[in-house]
């Protein structure tokens, strides 16, 4: 009777001990040296796995930093705070690394409820992607912001709020430049700008002058005045839309004065 209970107990225990032994030996025999700094860096990172650094998630970035392949301040989300922490872990001083220019997302549309006309009443799914499927959305301008907040929901850092004027308000301080909203926007009306670019064309319309005037009070009508007045030759017309070359632009603001529709603004 006792033996009937003992045999299975002993067998199972023996098996368990055997496997434990094998695993214990294997743990020592097959141990791989890992850089302890990788773990530490990973701890310091925000852990959003947004990919804004150009690596596949925080773990890949931490590994690259430990190997010296990525800059210590390569995380655009954590900025100085995280960079300092990583500097401490890596034992380098932060000044050695040149600071990469910060890029943030900006809305290139000023088509508020007031400024932009609508061609229909939209009562469908409250999402820009859904609205776009129905004849391009309710705005008369086919390039403008629909203001249904797809970008607000896409932002992992709560940097975008929907304003009362029907346009999303992107908090430039909170924006980490991850680009999730740029990806999510079906109208491509959010773009990334370097922080040095203070003057920007806040319109996305590639239509000619007349249809823009009919659809929106603040659209770029491709009149070309800004191109002529720019002392740096930094502005060009591409697809009926003024484009400012941020490398040449000195933020002088001459174009802002010249623009008849106030489509060019200072941030």
């Amino acid at each position: 009777m006792l033996i009937d209970i003992l045999i299975p107990i002993v067998t199972m225990t023996a098996l368990a001990v055997l496997f434990a032994g094998i695993l214990a030996v294997a743990n020592i025999a097959f141990s791989v040296e890992k850089d302890p700094r990788v773990e530490e860096i990973l701890e310091a990172l925000p852990g959003a796995n947004c990919g804004a650094c150009g690596y596949a998630g925080c773990a890949a970035f931490a590994e690259a930093v430990a190997k010296g392949e990525a800059p210590v301040n390569g995380c655009p989300v954590g900025r100085e705070k995280v960079a300092e922490e990583i500097c401490r872990i890596m034992g380098v001083s932060g000044e050695q690394e040149s600071e990469a220019e910060r890029h943030t997302a900006r809305l290139v549309c000023q088509g508020t409820h007031e400024a932009a006309k609508t061609k229909m009443d939209y009562h469908g799914v409250q999402d820009c992607r859904a609205a776009t499927l129905i004849n391009g959305g309710d705005k008369t301008c086919p390039y403008g912001c629909l203001g249904l907040g797809t970008c607000v929901r896409a932002c992992p850092f709560d940097a975008i709020q929907m304003g009362d004027d029907g346009l999303p308000d992107i908090d430039q301080e909170l924006c980490t430049g991850c680009g999730k909203c740029v990806e999510a926007c079906p109208k491509d009306v959010i773009s990334m700008f370097p922080s040095s670019a203070e003057v920007m064309v806040a319109c996305n319309s590639k239509a000619k002058g007349a249809p823009v005037l009919k659809a929106c009070k603040v659209g770029c009508i491709a009149c070309g005045k800004c191109v002529k007045v720019c002392p740096q030759d930094a502005i060009s017309m591409v697809d009926n839309l003024a484009v400012i070359d941020s490398h040449k632009c000195t933020n002088c603001g001459t174009c802002i004065e010249a623009c008849p529709t106030n489509a060019i603004v200072r941030v």
Binding site: P8, T11, L15, I22, F30, L133
Partner: protein, 189 residues
């Protein structure tokens, strides 16, 4: 020879582990978003399935049957599989970092995969010899990989389609999997 082929193709198509026996559904839905990852998962499963089948078969013959402990089959096999997966992971990390990188993330998922336990138990139930066991394991793993890749292909296509909100994600994947299983049941008739 004919019997071996029958076991192999039977495990791949007729008794497909995922679509007919409904084993290993968790990885079937979990890692079938991209064809690439599903292939990696399939390889990892093939690797562990074959090894686990061999070890559990030997253990059954040498230990459990000898001592009359057949009723401890399930718990013993779980022990074996869990230990084996841990061991394989450590082994791969040391010997082949590239392979570990390709299969590594999937290995812990297999620890508790019922398809592995299923094949180990079925081998014994069917009274297979060692060769038949290995062939059965390989066939089952291939069938698992096949099902995973088929669903991954469908889901990649679904991604660019306009799926109604209520069906987006897992629901539409489950419906696709159901239709896939229905198609596979055609092999039996």
């Amino acid at each position: 020879m004919q019997e071996i082929l029958l076991i192999f193709f039977g495990a791949v198509f007729f008794n497909n582990f995922v679509l007919n026996r409904f084993l290993g559904i968790c990885p079937f839905l979990g890692v079938s978003k991209r064809i690439e990852t599903s292939l990696g998962m399939g390889m990892a499963v093939a690797f562990v399935m074959t090894l686990a089948s061999i070890i559990t078969w030997v253990l059954q013959g040498l230990v459990l049957n000898k001592l009359g402990l057949e009723y401890l089959q399930t718990i013993t096999f779980i022990l074996v599989i869990a230990a084996l997966v841990q061991f394989v992971e450590m082994f791969l990390q040391k010997v082949s970092p590239t392979l570990h990188k390709a299969l590594g993330v999937f290995l812990p998922l297999i620890t508790t995969n019922c398809a592995i336990l299923g094949i180990a138990l079925l081998n014994i139930d069917f009274g297979y010899n060692l060769l038949q066991t290995i062939v059965h394991a390989l066939g089952a793993a291939l069938g698992f990989t096949l099902a995973l890749i088929l669903l991954a292909g469908i889901r990649e296509k679904l991604e660019i389609n306009d799926v109604p909100d209520a069906f987006a994600g897992i629901p539409i994947a489950l419906i696709s999997a159901g239709i896939l299983a229905l198609a596979f049941s055609g092999f039996v008739l």
